[in-house]
C-alpha cells in the first residue's frame, strides 16, 4: 500500500529531527527504530529513548487509511541521505517498508508499531506557557553549559525550569558554578519548578529555531511537552530537589567592574594554554586599574595577561578554574560583562551590566 510520495528532503529533514535521540546501543531492538504513522491524512515520524520522545509531522497525504510501522532509523536515514534529490515513494508491504526513488529500490524490515513504547501526551499539565522559539533557545544557551555531567547528585544532570508569576527562569549548576537566566512572562499566574534531563535540554536547544515562531510549553509534575513548528517534544523529568539557587547567588558583593567580554575571553584562552592540565587554575590579580591573569603549569611555565579595568578597591588575588570562565564567556553573546567580587574566598558573580536577567556564580579555587 502506498504510504507517501514526496520530495526526499521533505522526509529527510523531519527524520533528522527525530532520529537524533535514537540510541544506537539500546538493548531493546525496537528502540533503534523510528515509528512511521499515517492518520487523518498526515504522515508522522516518531522516535523515543523511553525518557524522551520526539514526533514530527512529515507530510500531509491524501490517503486516509491508517498505517503504522517501525523501521530502523539509521538505515532509513542513511538511505534517504544517499539518494539524489528527487521524489521518494514509501510503500508498506507485508512487514516490510519499500523505498523507491528513480531507479533505486530498498526493502527494509519492520517491527510492529503496537510494540513501540510511545509516551502519550500527559493529561496532568499544571502550567502552559508560550514563548518565541528564539527566546527559549537563547535562554537555554545561557545556562546549558553549567549542567553537571554524570554527577551522582542526579538532579544536577539537568536544567531547572521555573515559572513564577510574570517570570520564566532557567538554572543549571554542577556544584562548582551556577548559571541563571530569566525573562519576563506576562499573563501567566501559575507556578512550577521542573528539572529537564540533560539530554532533553541539549536536544531541545538543537531543534529550536532562531525565529519568533511560538513554542508551547506544557509542564506537569512528571513530564514536559514542547510543541513548536511541526514538532512535538515530550520528555520525562528528573524527580528530585534542585538546590536553592537564590541562596547561592550572592548579593552585596561591592567590588564591581565591567570589561569587554571578548577581551577577557581572549586573554583567558591564552592564559589557559599554560594552566595545569588537571585543575586548570588561573589567578586573577586585581590592583588599582588593572586585572592581571596569571597561570602556570607543572613545568613552571608561566603566562601573564594584563587588562585595564575600572577597579579601585584594595588589591586582591582570586583563583578560578579557567574552564568555568571560558565556558560562560563563549556562551553569552554580549558586549560587556560585569564582575562582582567580595574576597578571595567568596564566590564571584558575573552578569550583564545594568541587567539582572543573567547571573553566573563561580566558586574560587585556592591555588
Amino acid at each position: 500500500m502506498l504510504l507517501l510520495k514526496t520530495e526526499r528532503d521533505r522526509l529527510l529533514r523531519p527524520l533528522q529531527a527525530v532520529s537524533g535521540i535514537v540510541d544506537k546501543r539500546h538493548t531493546l531492538p525496537i528502540l533503534s527504530n523510528v515509528l512511521l504513522e499515517r492518520t487523518d491524512g498526515r504522515l508522522t515520524l516518531l522516535a523515543t529513548d523511553i525518557e524522551l520522545q520526539i514526533q514530527t509531522i512529515a507530510e500531509q497525504t491524501d490517503a486516509s487509511e491508517p498505517v503504522a510501522l517501525t523501521v530502523s532509523a539509521r538505515k532509513f536515514q542513511d538511505i534517504l541521505r544517499a539518494l539524489p534529490e528527487g521524489e521518494v515513494a514509501l510503500q508498506a508491504e507485508d512487514k516490510r517498508l519499500l523505498i523507491r526513488s528513480g531507479k533505486s529500490r530498498f526493502t527494509l524490515q519492520t517491527l510492529p508499531a503496537a510494540d513501540y513504547p510511545r509516551m502519550s501526551a500527559s493529561t496532568e499539565v499544571a502550567v502552559t506557557v508560550s514563548l518565541a522559539q528564539r527566546h527559549l533557545r537563547r535562554l537555554i544557551g545561557l545556562v546549558q553549559y553549567a549542567m553537571a555531567l554524570q554527577d551522582i547528585r542526579y538532579y544536577l544532570n539537568g536544567m531547572l525550569m521555573v515559572v513564577r508569576a510574570g517570570e520564566f527562569r532557567l538554572v543549571a549548576t554542577d556544584g562548582h558554578r551556577l548559571a541563571y537566566a530569566s525573562m519576563p512572562l506576562p499573563g501567566v499566574s501559575e507556578e512550577i519548578d521542573i528539572i529537564l534531563p540533560r539530554k532533553a535540554v541539549l536536544e531541545l536547544a538543537r531543534l529550536l529555531a532562531d525565529n519568533d515562531d511560538p513554542v508551547q510549553l506544557r509542564l506537569g509534575a512528571t513530564q514536559a511537552q514542547f510543541n513548536f513548528g511541526s514538532i512535538e517534544f515530550i520528555t520525562k523529568l528528573i524527580d528530585g530537589k534542585f538546590p536553592d539557587y537564590d541562596r547561592v547567588i550572592p548579593v552585596g558583593h561591592d567590588r564591581v567592574f565591567a570589561l569587554a567580554r571578548t577581551t577577557l575571553q581572549a586573554a583567558l584562552l591564552r592564559a589557559a594554554i599554560l594552566t595545569n592540565e588537571r585543575f586548570r587554575g588561573v589567578r586573577m590579580v586585581l590592583s588599582a586599574g588593572t586585572l592581571k591573569l596569571v597561570s602556570n603549569n607543572a613545568e613552571q611555565e608561566e603566562a601573564e595577561e594584563l587588562i585595564d579595568v575600572d577597579y579601585h578597591w584594595e588589591p586582591m588575588d582570586i583563583g578560578f578554574n579557567v574552564n568555568y570562565l571560558i565556558d560562560m564567556l563563549s556562551n553569552v553573546a554580549v558586549e560587556m560583562v560585569e564582575i562582582s567580587l567580595k574576597d578571595s574566598g567568596s564566590s564571584a558573580l558575573f552578569s550583564f551590566p545594568g541587567q539582572d536577567d543573567f547571573k553566573y556564580v563561580v566558586m574560587p579555587m585556592r591555588i
Partner: protein, 609 residues
C-alpha cells in the same frame, strides 16, 4: 610409625581445628546456641580480641542440671535425634560439636538455669576437656558461657592468631551477621570493657541503619520475591551508590549467614549490566528455603550450603535483584532517576577505528617496529610466545620488555609520534586504544588516571593542594564512627585539601575539595578516606600514612570506568602518562598499559611467516 588409635583429646582438638578457627568462630557458635535457645537478649563480652576471654550471656531456655555435662560432650545435642531430623534441620546447631570443640582448646565454664529450675548450676572443663562435677551457681535465667584462654593447650594454633584488633574485628563481624539475621533479638557487645554495639530488639530497618549506616538504610532498594517454595527478601544498594570498597554483602539462608558461590554468581549477573567490576555491590538478602531442600551440613563453619534445586535459586536471586535494580532505571515516582541520566554521557563523535595504512607510516615507525621485534626476540626463550598467548600471566615480562622498548623508541621516533601515540578510540568504556610508532597501545583508563593522580598528589604533598570551593556543599550522612574520625583527623583532612564541617548530628558538609579531585564522587571519596583514617592514630597520621591516604584519594578521583572520554581527553591522558614517573603501573602494581607491536599483531594473523 606404627598405626595407633589417637587419644580422645587429640581427636577433639583436631575436630576443633575445623569448628574453632579463631575467636570469632567461638562467638558465632555460642551466639547460635543462644538463638536456638530462643533468647531475646544476648550480651557478649570480649577481652583481647576474644583470645583471653569470651563471655556470652543469654536469657534463653537454659540447660537442665542433668544435661549440663552432656552439653560439653562431643556429639551431644538436643536439636536432632535422627537422620530425618537432620534433613529438615531448622535450628542453627545440630551436630552437638561446638561446645565440645571449644572445650577441647580452651577453658570453658557453663552456667545455666531453666525457667522451671529453682537454682542455677555450673560446670567447667578440667584439663583435657572433661566436664567437672555440676555445682550450684547464681544466675537469674538463661545461660552464660565463658571461654577463657583460647588455644592455651594448642600453641601451634595460637601462633596463627592475628593481632587483637584483627581478631576483635572478626568477632564483631560475627556478631553483626547474627544481628542482621535476627533484628528481633537485642544484642550488646563490649570489648576490653568498652561498649562497641548496643542493638535494641526492633525492626529490620533500624538494624540496617545501626549496622550499615544511614546511607545504606535510606538508599537500598527493597527486594521481595517468591518462586515456588523459595522466598527472597532484603535490600540491595543501587549501582550508583556502590563504591570500590568492600561494601555490605550479606546473604542469609534460613537465617544463617552463608558465602555461597551459586548465590554470589547470581548476584554478580544481576549487577553485571549496571556495575563495573571494580565496584562492589552492596546487599543484605534473606533467602528462605524449606529445610529439606537445602543441605547445611557441607562445611564445618556452616557457611556453605547445598541447594537441591540450584537453578531455581539462581534464577530467583538474579531476577529479583535485577528487577529491584532496574527500578532505578525506569522512572518511578519515588526513586531518584540517577541511572538513566548517567547514560546520557555525550559519547565522542563516532570515530572509525581504522589504523593508518602501513604505507603512510612515518619512517621512524618502520624502524621502531624493527626495534620492537628485536626486543621481543631478545627476551628469554619463549617469553614472547607466552606474552601473547596469555597476556595476563606474563605481563611483567612484557612490561619489562616494553619499558626497554619504549626508551629505545623514544630515541628512534624522536620528533614523530609520542611514545604512547595518539588515541584512536575507547573500548567498552574501560580501555583507550592508541596507535604509536610500534603498533597498538592499550591503556587501562582508570588505572592510568589513578596512577597519574597519585603521582601528582605526591608531588604536591609538601605544599598545600590547590583546592576548589564548592558552590553547593556536598552533604553526606555519616555514622557515629565516621563523625568521630572526622573530628580526630580534622587537621590531616584539612591538609589534604578538604574543608569539612558538621551539618547535623549525622551529617558532614564538604565545602572544599582538592582541585585535582574536583570531578570525583565526593561522598565515596570521603567515606573511603575516613575508613582509612579510622584505622590510624591521630598523631602523625600524615607522616606515617600519607601515601596510603593519597592512594585512596587517587583511586576515587580517577575517571570512573564507563565514562566516555573524547579523543582530546584521551590524548591528554596519554601525554600525562608519558610525563609521570612510574606511569606504567597503577598503585596496585598492575600495569596501566600494554603494547602490541605490529610484529606481534602480524604473528597473530600468521603474516610474514
Amino acid at each position: 610409625m606404627p598405626i595407633r588409635v589417637l587419644p580422645e583429646l587429640l581427636i577433639s582438638q583436631i575436630a576443633a581445628g575445623e569448628v574453632v578457627e579463631r575467636p570469632a568462630s567461638v562467638v558465632k557458635e555460642l551466639l547460635e546456641n543462644s538463638l536456638d535457645a530462643d533468647a531475646t537478649q544476648v550480651s557478649i563480652q570480649l577481652e583481647e580480641g576474644g583470645v583471653r576471654r569470651i563471655r556470652i550471656a543469654d536469657d534463653g531456655c537454659g540447660i537442665e542440671r542433668d544435661e549440663l555435662r552432656l552439653a560439653l560432650t562431643r556429639h551431644a545435642t538436643s536439636k536432632i535425634a535422627s537422620l530425618d531430623d537432620l534433613e529438615r534441620v531448622a535450628s542453627m546447631g545440630f551436630r552437638g560439636e561446638a561446645l565440645a570443640a571449644v572445650a577441647a582448646v580452651a577453658r570453658v565454664r557453663l552456667t545455666s538455669r531453666t525457667r522451671s529450675a529453682r537454682q542455677a548450676y555450673a560446670v567447667h572443663t578440667e584439663q583435657g576437656g572433661d566436664p567437672s562435677e555440676v555445682v550450684p551457681a547464681a544466675l537469674a535465667q538463661g545461660t552464660v558461657v565463658e571461654v577463657a584462654d583460647l588455644y592455651f593447650n594448642t600453641p601451634a594454633r595460637r601462633k596463627f592468631l592475628k593481632s587483637t584488633a584483627t581478631e576483635y574485628g572478626h568477632c564483631e563481624e560475627a556478631v553483626r551477621r547474627i544481628a542482621l539475621a535476627r533484628a528481633d533479638v537485642a544484642l550488646d557487645l563490649s570489648h576490653d570493657g568498652r561498649q562497641r554495639l548496643r542493638l535494641a530488639a526492633g525492626h529490620e530497618t533500624q538494624r540496617l541503619h545501626a549496622l550499615l549506616g544511614a546511607d545504606f538504610a535510606e538508599h537500598a532498594l527493597p527486594v521481595s520475591a517468591q518462586a515456588g517454595p523459595f522466598r527472597l527478601e532484603g535490600r540491595v544498594l543501587p549501582a550508583p551508590m556502590a563504591t570500590a570498597r568492600q561494601a555490605a554483602q550479606y546473604v542469609f539462608v534460613n537465617g544463617r549467614f552463608v558465602r555461597d558461590r551459586l548465590i554470589a554468581h547470581a548476584l554478580r549477573q544481576a549487577y553485571a549490566d549496571v556495575l563495573h567490576a571494580s565496584r562492589q555491590p552492596g546487599y543484605v538478602l534473606y533467602l528462605d528455603v524449606p529445610p529439606e531442600l537445602v543441605d547445611v551440613n557441607v562445611h564445618p563453619a556452616k557457611t556453605e550450603v547445598r541447594f537441591r534445586q540450584p537453578q531455581d535459586i539462581h534464577r530467583l536471586l538474579q531476577q529479583a535483584v535485577e528487577r529491584a535494580l532496574a527500578r532505578t532505571l525506569v522512572a518511578s515516582p519515588d526513586r531518584p532517576q540517577s541511572a538513566p541520566f548517567a547514560r546520557y554521557a555525550e559519547s565522542p563523535p563516532s570515530q572509525a577505528v581504522q589504523l593508518g595504512l602501513g604505507v603512510s607510516q612515518p619512517r621512524a615507525a618502520y624502524f621502531a617496529s624493527q626495534t620492537i621485534a628485536k626486543a621481543w626476540r631478545d627476551m628469554p626463550s619463549g617469553e614472547g610466545e607466552r606474552a601473547h598467548a596469555a597476556p595476563a600471566a606474563s605481563i611483567p615480562d612484557a612490561e619489562q620488555a616494553l619499558t626497554r622498548v619504549s626508551a629505545e623508541l623514544r630515541r628512534d621516533a624522536e620528533g614523530d609520534l609520542p611514545p604512547l601515540g595518539y588515541a584512536l578510540a575507547q573500548l567498552h568504556g574501560i580501555y583507550i586504544l592508541a596507535q604509536n610508532a610500534a603498533g597498538l597501545i592499550v591503556v587501562d583508563m582508570h588505572a592510568a588516571h589513578e596512577r597519574i593522580l597519585y603521582e601528582k598528589l605526591k608531588q604536591g604533598q609538601s605544599g598545600q593542594f590547590a583546592s576548589q570551593r564548592l558552590l553547593l556543599p556536598v552533604v553526606l550522612t555519616a555514622g557515629p564512627g565516621e563523625m568521630a574520625t572526622l573530628e580526630t583527623h580534622a587537621v590531616a583532612l584539612a591538609e589534604l585539601g578538604f574543608v569539612l564541617g558538621r551539618a547535623g548530628p549525622e551529617q558532614i558538609a564538604v565545602r572544599e575539595v582538592p582541585a585535582l579531585l574536583a570531578a570525583a564522587d565526593v561522598p565515596a571519596l570521603l567515606r573511603a578516606l575516613l575508613a582509612d583514617l579510622a584505622e590510624f592514630p591521630a598523631s602523625r597520621v600524615l607522616e606515617a600514612h600519607r601515601d596510603e591516604l593519597l592512594a585512596t584519594m587517587a583511586c576515587h578521583g580517577a575517571v570512573r570506568a564507563h565514562r566516555s572520554l573524547s579523543l582530546p581527553e584521551m590524548n591528554a591522558l596519554l601525554r600525562e602518562m608519558e610525563r609521570v614517573e612510574r606511569a606504567g603501573q597503577c598503585n596496585h602494581g598492575r600495569p596501566t598499559w600494554v603494547g602490541w607491536p605490529l610484529a606481534e599483531l602480524d604473528r597473530l594473523f600468521l603474516r610474514g611467516r
